[in-house]
């Protein structure tokens, strides 16, 4: 919590002179106003934790303005806005479970599963016979995300991607 708003840490740079005090330079997004600010804390300083609730919900669909999720046990539905979904929109797969962070009952963060499986909609054919996967090539996925994949992976295949760093993991197990 900072200035009465729950915040999300975007980056945290550890700063420490060899002989001296350690600091954290933190880049923070205020989740209500959407403002990104930088702050410096001494190591060991503490701030009030935000009273938030994480829930596991299945992604249903988007109407262009909101993204709708459902609790598969209670069938209760909830809608998250663009600010909550943010860049993670490219990892939303229908029926996949996402972690939705609620603050006062309102979704403020939508976190996709660590790994998602998506179909490749477009990628260069690549070189035949190159199975070592040196370098790789860009591939566009059905959700719109672009990831680097090995040369042997082709359009139409389903691949497994790590959503935390946007890296290709493997072909999906059939």
């Amino acid at each position: 919590m900072l200035d009465g708003e729950p915040c999300n840490i975007l980056e945290n740079e550890f700063v420490k002179p060899g002989k001296g005090q350690a600091f954290s330079r933190v880049k923070i997004r205020k989740l209500i106003s959407g403002k990104v600010i930088e702050k410096t804390f001494k190591s060991g300083d503490s701030v009030e934790g935000a009273d938030v609730l994480d829930t596991e919900l299945a992604y249903l669909y988007t109407d262009g303005e909101f993204w709708h999720f459902m609790n598969n046990d209670t069938f209760e539905q909830i809608a998250a806005d663009e600010k909550a979904v943010g860049d993670n929109v490219k990892w939303l797969v229908e029926n996949d479970t996402c972690t939705i962070t609620l603050w006062n009952g309102v979704p403020i963060i939508v976190q996709p599963a660590n790994f998602v499986e998506l179909e490749i909609t477009e990628t260069d054919p690549g070189l035949k016979g190159d199975t070592a996967g040196t370098g790789g090539k860009p591939a566009t996925l059905s959700s719109g995300a672009v990831v680097r994949v090995p040369l042997f992976v082709q359009t139409g295949e389903v691949v497994r991607v790590d959503t935390r760093n946007g890296e290709y993991v493997s072909r999906a197990q059939k």
């Binding site: 550890f14 060899g18 002989k19 001296g20 005090q21 350690a22 930088e38 190591s43």
Partner: protein
């Protein structure tokens, strides 16, 4: 939750370059007749500096009823100085050092340190030798030399030695640290944040830069300048945003050394940190006689980052800590 990753964080190509750099460093000292030594990583005592956090472990001796606490060394300084007291002459060491509570783009809790001592040198002579080593490894220009006081005045407009705590607090406020400064009554803490964020990025960009004459309050194990009691004969080397090395014209006064260790422990107590056992062997050795000398500790991983233009320390070490 732990995530697993079996792959090295450095490429095999980088590891070959790393081996080559280590070879060059050993050659550098061989031709200068500086002896390579290998001191213990585990000791019964450790550093008292309130900003350094040692790892500790329990040693169970097969013949003793009770286990004793051992500390992984944050640098090989105490043991190497004991060797100097015992008459070793010039020595160097390349070893792992361990620092708890340190991890980040430029920090790994265990890292490789190159530390060396030159009896008969003062810090200025040692700086010349460091400069030669850096030029050999990086192929860069010769380093420039500035004083802490001058760079601070140049970039922040205040004399760091004569400014009062109130001056530095208001300066910190101007640079966006008002909240941090409001509760901070240690002038050095504020000087450190201002220096690391607003001076370090501006110096040593085209060529390495030695910053000399740190404030006496940040002397660590350096002697106080005989010509100016406000400064210590301590220097740091910066290059392209990295703090590469820290060196001293070494303190050889055992009573003064013991006083500083005790002062550190008093600070630790007031900060709610554990008091650390003072290295009595080290104090005894200095009392026996530490030859006048200069010494420096240089981060080998960071040197490699510069040599290989790596952006993260992870990329020059086999397995960064989360994969270890």
């Amino acid at each position: 939750m732990r995530t697993y990753n079996w792959r090295p964080s450095a490429s095999i190509e980088v590891l070959k370059q790393r081996a080559l750099v280590l070879q060059k460093i050993r050659q550098f000292f061989a031709v200068r007749d500086v002896l390579e030594v290998d001191t213990p990583a585990l000791s019964h005592a450790t550093v008292t500096d309130e900003h350094l956090h040692s790892f500790s472990t329990q040693f169970t001796h097969p013949f003793l009823p009770q286990a004793s606490t051992l500390y992984l060394q944050t640098s090989p300084e105490f043991a190497m100085k004991r060797l100097l007291c015992a008459g070793s002459g010039a020595i160097y060491q390349i070893c792992k050092s361990f620092r708890n509570e340190e991890a980040g783009r430029f920090h790994n809790p265990e890292f490789t340190m190159l530390e060396w001592y030159r009896p008969g040198f003062d810090h200025l002579q040692l700086m010349t030798e460091i400069d030669e080593l850096i030029q050999m490894v990086l192929g860069c220009d010769s380093a420039e030399r500035v004083t802490y006081q001058d760079v601070f005045k140049q970039y922040l407009g205040y004399c760091p030695l004569r400014a009062t705590l109130a001056d530095i607090k208001s300066l910190a406020g101007q640079y966006g640290y008002a909240e941090l400064a409001a509760n901070e009554n240690n002038k050095d803490t504020l000087l450190m944040i201002l220096f690391s964020q607003h001076i370090e990025p501006n110096i040593g960009q085209d060529r390495p830069c030695f910053v000399m004459n740190f404030p006496a309050s940040q002397a660590a194990l350096a002697r106080i300048s005989p010509s100016d009691p406000l400064v210590a004969e301590r220097f740091e080397l910066y290059f392209q945003g990295l703090e590469l090395a820290n060196g001293f014209h070494e303190l050889t006064d055992g009573a003064e050394q013991l006083r500083r260790f005790k002062q550190d422990n008093t600070k630790r107590q007031s900060m709610g940190l554990d008091v650390m056992p003072i290295d009595k062997n080290f104090i005894e050795a200095i009392n026996f006689g530490l030859p006048a000398c200069a010494g420096v500790a240089l981060g080998v991983d960071r040197l490699l980052m510069l040599a290989l233009k790596a952006t993260k320390i992870d990329h020059v070490i086999t397995f960064e800590n989360s994969r270890a």
